[in-house]
């Protein structure tokens, strides 16, 4: 089933927010890191994993979700956080490490926790899969609505947690969906060098659950293909595995020289950038016009800028507040 007009605008809008946010983070990240690139410096220190190119995976799935639904994301979480409705200001402030951030700066960009929209992410490969299964179990035990979605990369599909959690979710028939963002790379290691099968979706058969392969890095296609799986989970039909071919337009993290990419790959990926393609699609379908696209762009950029301003102007917590919140 195709998304409605408003769903398509919602998806496009969130792609815009996410992409612009990544672009701005990219610039701000480099502040204080020139001429010498040292991760420790600048207003946003540490590792930075950008999601440019993967926005369709975020919006195409999250378009089906409500705040009550649970999402666990990875070390590359921004696009998904945006689509799940994480508060932009608090998120940006967290990325800057400010007191007003989601966790007052304790987490950082790999540890964004927003319990108001049931979003979390983490820095260990495949780590979010268990919690997604557990949240789904929690809903089942409490007879409460809500499905859980665990995002992972294709590299994570070779981690033991993948196997264990899919099996457990299936044996217990839980409302959880596993989404693989297949960008073909785990840092510098290509999928074919690390994975015995061409499509991870075939692995669903090991767990007696549907395995859906989505070849198209397009929000509409992802939306349509994932709808059934999510409804199935909502209706007690159990888990599914969804694999989406997508593209990592940036390096693994900022500072990555990307020397491992085959010649021409990057250029090709940029040609296939899903954002302008989707924009054109919506224009062609008369869902947006060039005019209201400009307005949308402007509006979403403003949102991001507001978040950035909020983050920049916020204070750091007192250093000794590091001691707080170790325990509940």
């Amino acid at each position: 089933m195709l998304p409605t007009e408003s769903q398509r605008i919602w998806m496009y809008r969130n792609m815009l927010i996410s992409r612009y946010m990544e672009e701005r983070i990219e610039t701000i990240y480099m502040e204080g890191k020139k001429p010498v690139f040292n991760m420790a410096n600048g207003p946003i220190p540490g590792e930075m994993h950008l999601s440019n190119g993967q926005e369709p995976c975020a919006v195409g799935v999250c378009a089906h979700l409500e705040a009550e639904d649970i999402v666990t994301a990875t070390h590359r979480p921004h696009h998904i956080a945006v689509a799940k409705g994480v508060n932009l200001k608090k998120m940006m402030a967290e990325i800057f490490g400010k007191k007003t951030g989601l966790s007052g700066g304790r987490g950082g960009h790999m540890h964004l926790f927003d319990s108001t929209v049931n979003f979390a992410c983490s820095g260990i490969i495949a780590q979010g899969m268990g919690p997604a299964v557990g949240a789904a179990l929690s809903r089942k035990l409490q007879n409460k609505s809500g499905v859980a979605v665990a995002y992972i990369g294709e590299g994570a599909a070779n981690q033991g947690a993948f196997h264990e959690t899919l099996n457990l979710a299936s044996v217990w028939n839980l409302p959880v969906i596993f989404v693989i963002e297949d960008n073909n790379w785990g840092i510098s290691v290509s999928k074919s060098a690390s994975t015995a099968v061409a499509k991870n979706s075939v692995r669903a058969a090991s767990y007696n659950m549907p395995g859906i392969h989505i070849e198209d890095n397009c929000p509409d296609v992802i939306f349509s293909e994932t709808k059934k799986a999510i409804e199935r989970a909502r209706n007690g039909g159990g888990p599914s595995l969804i694999e989406i071919k997508t593209s990592r337009l940036a390096g693994h993290f900022m500072g990555d020289a990307e020397g491992y990419r085959p010649k021409g790959e990057k250029e090709q990926l940029i040609k296939e950038d899903p954002l302008p393609i989707y924009r054109q699609k919506l224009i062609d379908a008369n869902i947006i016009t060039i005019d209201n696209d400009s307005a949308l762009v402007e509006e979403t950029q403003k949102l991001v800028e507001q978040a950035i301003t909020f983050a920049r102007e916020s204070e750091y917590a007192k250093p000794e507040e590091a001691m707080l919140h170790v325990f509940a």
Binding site: G130, L137, S138, Q142, T165, L324, H325, F327
Partner: protein, 338 residues
């Protein structure tokens, strides 16, 4: 005060669980062989019959999945009690424990809670070999974000379990196989004691003076407390007055209690079944001496498991384990050391 009855640690754990499950629908239990079987070590006996398979769930042998699931359930408002059958198995699932369960409260800035208990059996002494006999107290206590408790008797076992379940932070609950009162793992009669029928909470982080004494403070936890108590009786005959502190909890560690005792006795002996180096015994000695090394009349001592894998064969294993005899000998030597 409610009526009491004599229970083993295994039964005390199960009783606390049952009472909490009755009182709070959010409490549930999962792990390997904890449903129909009642747990390999008996600590979930009866729960499956009373609460059924939804709330008392046998799992596949997939510790990473079900411990990770515990974290997700806890963050979603449930209170999972998850069994890791032998603490030795932590290696297959420690990421979910130390890097997620223990840190998610912090990473969320306190906005999420992780009310989760992991219970795991510890301990050697019955020739179960090097992958089924470890204590690993130091391993868990070293890493931030988890409370770590280990009862030495049924009364404490029930109160600590209730406290652990009600805690909004993750708690590692380590029970020593030799104290479970399961018979087939031996028996320590002193671990079987009077337990109130009503539920109650023992504050996590408070040590207990198991026996008062004037000459030497023996600090221990779990089964070591019993070795020490037996030694205390023997030493009394030699006119050595030993104070035995049962830590009950390693995180938080009740340093005040330890220091107060050593201040009084001037002598410190740590008894720990965990590996010798970089663990519990070192921390306790350091905690006392960094406070004030001059309160010590003699160098601090420790009786621990040496830094070797735990051997299967009885003579080697028994030789390596802390024991009442070793405690007696060390105490006598400490008193001779002027």
């Amino acid at each position: 005060m409610s009526a009491t009855k004599k229970l083993t640690i295994a039964r005390a754990m199960a009783e606390s669980l049952a009472q909490e499950m009755r009182a709070d629908p959010k409490v549930f239990v999962m792990g390997e062989d904890i449903a129909q079987l009642g747990g390999v070590f008996g600590n979930t006996r009866g729960l499956f019959d009373e609460f059924g398979g939804e709330r008392v769930r046998d799992t596949p042998i997939s510790e990473t999945a079900f411990i990770g699931a515990g974290v997700g359930a806890a963050m979603d408002g449930m209170r999972p009690v998850v069994e890791l059958m032998f603490v030795d198995f932590f290696g297959v699932c420690f990421d979910a424990i130390y890097n997620m369960m223990a840190k998610n409260i912090y990473f969320s800035g306190g906005n999420s809670h992780v009310p989760m208990v992991i219970m795991a059996s510890t301990g050697a002494g019955y020739s179960d070999g090097g992958q089924h006999s470890q204590c690993l107290y130091g391993t868990f206590a070293h890493l931030p974000g988890m409370k770590v408790v280990a009862p030495s008797n049924a009364y404490d076992a029930k109160g600590l379990m209730t406290a652990a379940i009600r805690d909004n932070s993750p708690v590692i609950y380590l029970f020593h196989k030799g104290l479970q009162g399961m018979g087939w793992l031996g028996n320590e009669p002193a671990a079987i004691n009077q337990v109130p029928e009503e539920n109650y909470v023992l504050e996590i982080g408070k040590a207990k003076t198991a026996v008062e004494g004037a000459d030497i403070s023996i600090i221990s936890i779990g089964i070591g407390v019993h070795h020490a108590l037996k030694a205390a009786l023997e030493l009394e005959k030699k006119n050595i007055s030993v104070e035995v502190i049962d830590l009950r909890s390693l995180v938080p560690l009740d340093r005040e209690h330890i220091i107060a005792s050593v201040k009084k006795t001037g002598r410190l002996l740590v008894v720990d079944e965990d590996y010798h180096s970089f663990g519990v015994s070192g921390e306790i000695i350091a905690s006392v001496t960094e406070h004030d090394h001059k309160i010590l009349k003699t160098p601090p001592c420790r009786i621990t498991f040496p830094d070797i894998p735990i051997p299967f064969t009885r003579p080697m294993e028994q030789w390596a384990l802390p024991s009442t005899e070793k405690i007696i000998n060390v105490c006598v030597t400490m008193m001779e050391n002027k």
